[in-house]
Amino acid sequence: MVKKTALALAGTVLFFGCARLFGWDIHAPGILSGNFTQLVRPVDERVALYLPPEVLTHVSKDKGSWSADPQTYHVGEALGPMLVEGFQNGFSEFIFLETQPTPEILARYGIHRLAVVRLKDFWNRVTWKGQFLTLATETAVFDSGMKEIDRFESRGTSASEKIFAKKGGPEVNLNAALENNVRALVQHLQDIR
C-alpha cells in the first residue's frame, strides 16, 4: 500500500512536474538594471519617500490564467529596495522615512516634497506564449506642511515569451515590471518639480 502511494506520487510528479504541483515561488532580484541610470538622470532636490508597511509585504498569488501553475509573486520585498535605489539615483538628496510622516518631521528636516507610494494593482496574464506582468502604483506628493500637492498613477509592464523555460526567467520578468514602474514614478516626480 505504502509502495503504491509512493509510486503514485512519483508518477504524478513525473507527469505534471513539481511546478505544477507546488507552484512557482517568485522572488525578484530587487535591484535595478544598468539601463536605469542611463535613462534617469539625477536632479538637484531633497525628496523623501515613505512606504506604508503593507507595500513592503505585498504578495500576489494571481496565476494569470485558470490553467496556469500556481505562482506566488513577492512584489513588496523587491519593490521596496528598488524604489529606494530609484530615488537614490533620481534625486541628489534622498531621505527614507521609516516613521509615519508628520508636518513637524518634514519641517524639522527641511523636506519640501514627500512621496508616499501605495500599490494599486498587480496584473499577471499568462498565455501559452509567455507572460505579461504589470504593476500599478499610486503616489501622493506632499509639501512640507503635509498638504497634498499631486497624485499620480504609474505603471510598469514587462511582457516576454518562454520565460518559464529559463532559470530566473519569471524572476527577471517581475523585476523588469517593477523597474519600469519605478522609472515612471521617479521621472514623473522629476517632471512635476
Binding site: 505504502v2 509502495k3 509512493a6 506520487l9 512519483a10 510528479v13 513525473l14 512536474g17 513539481c18 511546478a19 507546488f22 512557482w24 515561488d25 517568485i26 530587487g30 535591484i31 538594471s33 544598468g34 539601463n35 490564467s65 490553467s67 496556469a68 501553475d69 521596496g80 529596495p81 535605489e85 537614490q88 531621505i95 527614507f96 522615512l97 521609516e98 524639522r108 528636516y109 496574464r125 498565455t127 501559452w128 506564449k129 509567455g130 505579461f132 499610486e138 497624485r151 498613477e153 504609474s154 505603471r155 510598469g156 509592464t157 511582457a159 516576454s160 515569451e161 518559464f164 523555460a165 532559470k167 530566473g168 526567467g169 524572476e171 527577471v172 520578468n173 523585476n175 523588469a176 515612471a184
Partner: protein, 178 residues
Amino acid sequence: MRKRKLFDRLAMTVFLLTFIFPSNTFAGEIIEETHTQVIVREHPKTGQPYVSIVSSEGPVPADSFTGQRQKFSRPDYRMLDPKVKAKDIPYNGPYSDRRKVYVLAATLATVGTAGGVAGILAAPAATGAGAAGGAGAYLAGAGAVAGTATAASVYATTGSKKNNFIHRSESKEAKETI
C-alpha cells in the same frame, strides 16, 4: 535717559520671556516633538548608503529590508528575449524555489524506502520537465502578448524593438484616490 529706560524694559522682558519659554523650546522643542532620529543605512542590494529617519523612542528599529541583504548582479533584460538562451546571459539572482522539491523528496522519503528513492530520483527530472514545459502548460489565454500593450499613457516609453520583449513605463495624473 528715556533710551536707557526703554533698554531696561526690553532687557527685563527678554529676561522674563526666557523663564517662561526656556531657550531650548524654540529650537529644541521641534526636535523633541518629532521623536525621530537620523541614521544612515546601507541599501540591501547595492550597499550604497542613504539617510533614514526613524523613531527615537526605544532602540533603533530594524531595517525595513532585513533579510534581503543578498548581493546580486544587476539583471540583464536581454535574457527575456526568447531567442537568447539562458546560458548566454549570466544570472546569479533568485529563481523559483527548489526547496519545495526537497520537501517533496522528504515527504516521499517518509512514506517508504522505495518511495523515497523514487521520489528523490524523480524530483530533479520532474523539475526539468516542469521548467522546460512550463510555458507549454499555459494553454489558456486571450490574445497575443504583444497585442495587449496598447494602453494610452501620458509618460510612456516602450522597450527597444530589436528585442523580442516589451517593456513599458508610464505615469499619469490620478483622478481618484485609493
